[in-house]
């Protein structure tokens, strides 16, 4: 963000290292502290992380699971990150994600019989709109009267949870005992990656047997590139960043802070809604109570780790997707509770945010140096 265009290449390279350095250091630190907790708890951290690695990358099926878990995390990370770039903390992405999934699951059943070429784009769009709609009231409240979006989006997230549990147990409930909706028909499902290949190809190239991973990952990557382009090359993105950097300066420059805030939070909600729709169409094919499984909250960690950079978000989502995919194997083989993943996520957020730890030491040493010179 600083004037890196007119500095010498060596400096520019240093700035890249600095940009990537903190996230990598934070991840290493978080995994280190996580290992310490595992060790104190009486387990072997090496065994635990070896099992986790095996569960995340041990074979095509495992890699497929990592891709599967990363897919909604990319979109949720983009949602939270886009908000952050406008200075907004969309902590309630989880709720918007639920509403996106809900609408996709409901309309997907209604639209049975149409060609996938119509159904799939329609459902994605509707999911995104549902997410945007769920963010709209908090957005208006923030823009008009300054109600803190952290509280309002969080409240809307709790409300969404009850809306989903009401509909899945009541009006939209499929026949049977379990509170869940009817399965989406095939024309509304996002196909698995391995379905692109014939049985003989898969036999010859087993690497493409990516288990449950679906084509939604490409939707997520396209969205990431799209958000990057919007932020970098469009007026919309420019205003978004300007308001995020300094609302006062943006207002002075003639940008409407209120309108930009509304747009930012709604676009953030749309991305979260898209995450929900993709998750439902690609993985669950229906919704049930708590189908969102905290993806919206993990999106916060993803965005922060990537410092809200859309392309970095893909990498960060892959990391958290791998942790999530491997945690089952870790619990099974090393006996360590999957909850350790939540702890590591929290530590990553903490260390990234406390970038100051490094700066603090530097400042302290500078101070000591100057006071020593006096």
């Amino acid at each position: 963000m600083s004037g890196s265009r007119d500095v010498v290449p060596a400096r520019a390279w240093m700035s890249v290292v600095q940009k990537v350095g903190t996230p990598i250091m934070s991840t290493v630190l978080a995994i280190g502290v996580g290992s310490l907790i595992i060790w104190i708890s009486g387990y072997d951290p090496v065994e635990a992380f070896a099992a986790l690695f095996k569960g995340a990358f041990g074979g095509p099926r495992q890699i497929g699971e990592t891709i599967l878990r990363s897919t909604p995390l990319i979109l949720a990370g983009l949602a939270v990150g886009y908000g952050f770039r406008a200075g907004l903390f969309n902590i309630g992405a989880e709720g918007q994600l639920m509403m996106g999934g809900l609408l996709a699951a409901w309309l997907g059943v209604e639209l049975a019989g149409l060609t996938p070429l119509i159904t799939i784009p329609t459902l994605l769009l509707v999911g995104a709109l549902a997410g945007a709609a769920w963010a709209f009231v908090p957005a208006i409240l923030k823009a008009r009267i300054g109600a803190h979006e952290v509280i309002t989006t969080m409240m809307f997230s709790h409300i969404a949870r009850y809306v989903v549990s009401w509909l899945t147990a009541g009006p939209l409930k499929a026949p049977g005992q379990i509170p869940q909706t009817v399965n989406l028909s095939a024309n509304a499902q996002i196909p698995r990656i391995q379905s692109l290949f014939s049985a003989t190809t898969l036999e010859a190239l087993p690497f493409f047997g990516l288990g449950r991973a679906h084509l939604g990952v490409f939707i997520a990557i396209i969205a990431a590139v799209g958000v990057w382009l919007v932020l970098r090359y469009t007026t919309l993105g420019y205003e978004n960043r300007a308001v995020g950097l300094s609302p006062w300066a943006a207002e002075t420059a003639g940008i409407s802070v209120q309108w930009t805030t509304v747009k930012a939070l709604c676009i953030s909600g749309a991305l979260a809604g898209l995450a929900g729709a993709v998750e439902v169409m690609g993985l669950h094919h229906r919704i049930f109570d708590q189908f969102s499984a905290g993806v919206g909250f993990t999106g916060i960690a993803v965005a922060l780790l990537a410092k809200n950079h859309p392309i970095g978000i893909i990498a960060a989502a892959l990391l958290f997707g791998a942790l999530s995919a491997g945690s089952g194997t870790m619990q099974l083989e090393a006996g360590v509770s999957q909850k350790i993943i939540l702890i590591i996520q929290a530590l990553v957020i903490f260390f990234v945010a406390a970038e100051g730890i490094v700066n603090w030491f530097i400042r302290k040493r500078q101070k000591e140096a100057t006071s020593g010179a006096e």
Partner: protein, 317 residues
């Protein structure tokens, strides 16, 4: 039907439900007055509730559980203090990390110590302070039934919360500490210039909010529910922050705002059995506290102005 809903029990429940919100909200008030946003109250409550419950399970003593809950709240809030005062981290982000950490840590320890996720074994709870039966007859008997039912049926922390609200209100406006606290949030530079440490003042405020958050957790687990359940704070920390805003950053205001939320929640619980009269799914009742929070925020903000420097890290010049 109305006489079945409007009972002493309804108002007693309002006081009960308001208590953890109020304690956390007053914690939020003290913290924000010092210039530090404390989104972490949700996690602090959860940590307090968990370690409090674990202590009661290990020792059988509810009071010891309360003390440990408070200490656990203080300990976890120290992380927030380091981050936001010393490292000048974004305070909302640090708070979010603590909330996530609390969720993960309590779940992890739950499985490690008790071998299963979800809910702990029931624990012995703190009992009501007064136990007075019916007195008098006719109108006087009825008046007594109301006074006894609404005000004299509670467990210790419910009363403690009222005392803390009044005490904190007094301290905020009539002591040197209170004056400095308010100045910290409005104009830290002035406090610094006067030779008083901004960092120390803010540290104390964050730790106090941690203690109150821990106490709120103790009330929830050791007085109200009698177990620890993963994630059972259910957004109360965020509602408490809304109560603090609605109460205009004053302890008594926070308490009264919490009472409003408590009443709304008590009313929805009381109305649930009347579903043949009010034909709504149960989930609609459960949404009430969250909807009320949004409505209240929408109604008051704009007219309620918080401390000027809240959320802004202070850099010693």
């Amino acid at each position: 039907m109305l006489s079945d809903v409007i009972t002493p029990d309804l108002f007693a429940a309002a006081l009960r439900i308001a208590t953890p919100l109020a304690l956390a909200a007053i914690g939020g008030t003290i913290c924000e007055r010092s210039g530090i946003v404390n989104i972490a109250l949700e996690g602090i409550m959860l940590i307090g509730a968990f370690f409090g419950t674990a202590t009661v399970l290990a020792t059988g003593s509810p009071w010891l559980g309360v003390i440990v809950a408070v200490l656990a709240g203080v300990a976890i809030s120290a992380v927030h203090a380091v981050a936001s005062v010393n490292l000048r981290t974004d305070q909302v982000v640090s708070g979010t990390a603590i909330n996530l950490l609390a969720l993960g840590l309590t779940g992890f320890l739950m499985e490690l110590w008790y071998g299963h996720p979800g809910t702990t074994q029931p624990i012995p709870t703190l009992q009501p302070v007064f136990r007075i039966g019916a007195m008098g007859e006719g109108f006087l008997g009825e008046v007594w039934r109301w006074i006894n039912g609404v005000f004299l049926s509670h467990t210790p922390i419910v009363y403690l919360a009222i005392i803390i609200a009044i005490g904190a209100q007094w301290a905020l406006y009539h002591t040197r500490w209170g004056l400095r606290l308010r100045a910290l949030g409005e104009h830290p530079r002035a406090v610094d210039t006067a030779g008083v440490s901004v960092a120390r003042g803010r540290w104390v405020a964050v730790l106090m909010s941690g203690a109150l958050g821990g106490l709120a957790g103790a009330n929830l687990s050791i007085e109200q529910v009698g177990v620890f359940q993963e994630g059972f704070t259910n957004g109360r920390g965020y509602i408490a922050l809304a109560a603090n805003i609605f109460g205009r950053w004053t302890p008594i205001g926070s308490y009264l705002a919490s009472l409003l939320f408590g009443f709304a929640d008590a009313l929805q619980i009381k109305l649930q059995p009347f579903r043949d009269v009010i034909d709504l799914p149960p989930e609609f009742f459960l949404m009430v506290p969250y909807v009320v929070t949004v409505v209240v925020l929408a109604g008051v903000i704009g007219r309620a102005v918080g401390p000027a420097q809240v959320g802004v890290p202070y850099e010693k010049g």
